[in-house]
Amino acid sequence: MQEHTEDRPTFTFQPSMEDHSEGDEKSIIVELVKVTKIYPPDVVALRNVSFTARKGEIVFLTGASGAGKTTLLKLLCRLERPTKGLIEIGGNDLNKLNSNATQKLRQRIGVAYQDFRLLPRQSVYQNIAMAMEVQFKNKKEIKQRVLELLEKLSLSEKIHKPAGKLSRGEQQRVAIARAAANVPPLILADEPTGNLDPQTTSQVMDLFHELNESGSAIIIATHDKSIYQGTHHQQFELQQGELQRVNS
């Protein structure tokens, strides 16, 4: 990685990074200030959303279908640009990133998309390994991590099957494994348990909690009450594009 140090973005937070304050205020990882997103011509997906997530937090995002959850997550990994407002991740203003800096940022965000976005002809292994390959991790490390993740999500049997030939629930878990592969400082999971039965759901949540303990901030958009009810984690609700805090 050393030859890349010079073009590494200023966004350099890492799970192992020490909190800069060590006080009761943890460092801010995601910050949205009055963000509005309008899909042309007139679909207002987000309206004046302000929102903060800190290092090591788990945040749940709920809301009716079409409320704007996916849009919010897409803004964070810069798949969409806000119409108005400021988005900062790890202190970097997303509006000011160039192409390569965006990619470096994305390497530090693990995303489990609602529609998975796997490569159907590639094997499960290859799909997960890809996320680590783009960061030039070495082969041994990749293999070890992939096997470990598949074990945790009970997918070991499917390792060499093409992703397109898995059941939807299996695909969903592969998408989650891919998001978690690099132990990134920020994980976005969009409806990660929509196709999963209760038992598999708890496996996935265990993985998230584990990642969280190792320092990752996790934002989960979900309709599944069972995964957030009765927890102490922050919970926000989107209502027709407007964000409201549910508990604290």
């Binding site: 990685m1 030859e3 990994c77 798949l79 192409s99 390569n100 990619q103 470096k104 940022l105 994305r106 390497q107 530090r108 965000i109 995303v111 998309y113 976005r117 796997l118 490569l119 002809r121 590639q122 890809m130 996320a131 390959e133 783009v134 960061q135 030039f136 891919r178």
Partner: protein, 295 residues
């Protein structure tokens, strides 16, 4: 270093994974180069044959029979000094007679029992290259006609006209079919690239989502483009060469060697074609993934 290793691994993997498509693209490039260079070869040989034929063009001035030897030499000098003339040859009736016999070929029997005396003295004029054009030759001939001492100017009207017409037509046909082909070829290669793009756009998109840098994505595509252009053009040129050799050995007409001497494209042209192919393939490939670098 790691980047390079990854890029090469990635390229190898891509080629192996979609070898069917890759082969098709390669075939497209090969065929295109073959067709293009085939036509270019025809064109080059046509031009060369034209030049060779043009070199045979000359005007003959028959001199007044009353001219003295000195006047004859003076006349020759005069024409020689004219800047648009390459070479002037003075011809005695004997030489002219011999020439005529050659010209008549198998008909030469008609000249038996005759001697050269009935032929006039004449001067053969080889005009300068830039004069080899129907209308200019005509003007030049008129000019010579008016020189004192000229009895008659003669040149192969029909031959020049025919030749002019024929090369014009042929050049025209070659140029039209050539442009049609180049159009088609470009269309074809870009189609094929689009096709292979379709097959891979999902992968490229996903790589971008995962944070692949520009060089990570460009690298393999660049190498593939290079290989495609190089191997494709190489095979195309080699096929053309074999084809050329075959035609040549098949059509080695000894009596015509001089007129229809076929030449292969010179090294420099082959290299240029190869380079162009590589350049176009690399550019095309890069262009085709450009939009993904914006994701």
């Amino acid at each position: 270093m790691r980047l390079l290793t990854f890029i090469f691994t990635q390229t190898g993997r891509n080629v192996l994974q979609s070898w069917g498509l890759q082969l098709m693209t390669l075939l497209t490039v090969t065929l295109s180069v073959l067709i293009f260079s085939f036509f270019y070869l025809i064109y080059v040989n046509m031009v060369q044959t034209g030049v060779r034929l043009g070199e045979e063009l000359r005007l003959i001035v028959y001199l007044d029979s009353g001219l003295t030897a000195d006047e004859q030499i003076l006349f020759t000098k005069k024409v020689e000094s004219f800047s648009k003339v390459d070479k002037v040859v003075f011809i005695t009736p004997d030489e002219a007679f011999a020439q005529l016999r050659d010209q008549l070929g198998n008909d030469r029997d008609v000249l038996e029992d005759l001697d050269s005396s009935f032929l006039p003295y004449s001067v053969e004029i080889y005009p300068h290259k830039d004069l080899k054009n129907l209308s200019r030759i005509k003007d030049f001939s008129d000019y010579l006609e008016n020189l004192p001492g000229t009895a008659k100017v003669q040149y192969g009207h029909g031959w020049v006209e025919r030749f002019e017409y024929f090369t014009k037509l042929l050049r025209f046909i070659v140029i039209i079919s050539g442009s049609l082909l180049i159009l088609t070829t470009m269309f074809m290669v870009s189609n094929t690239l689009r096709l292979s793009l379709y097959a891979r756009q999902k992968e490229l998109k996903v790589l971008r989502y995962l944070g692949a840098t520009n060089s990570y994505i460009k690298g393999p595509v660049l190498i593939e483009g290079f290989l495609l252009g190089f191997v494709g053009a190489g095979i195309g040129l080699l096929s053309l060469f074999s084809l050329f050799q075959w035609i040549k050995s098949h059509f080695a007409g000894p009596s015509l060697v001089n007129l229809f001497k076929l030449n292969f494209l010179p090294w420099s042209h082959c290299t240029a074609i190869l380079l162009c192919s590589v350049l176009l393939c690399v550019l095309g490939s890069l262009l085709s993934i450009r939009k993904f670098l914006k994701i």
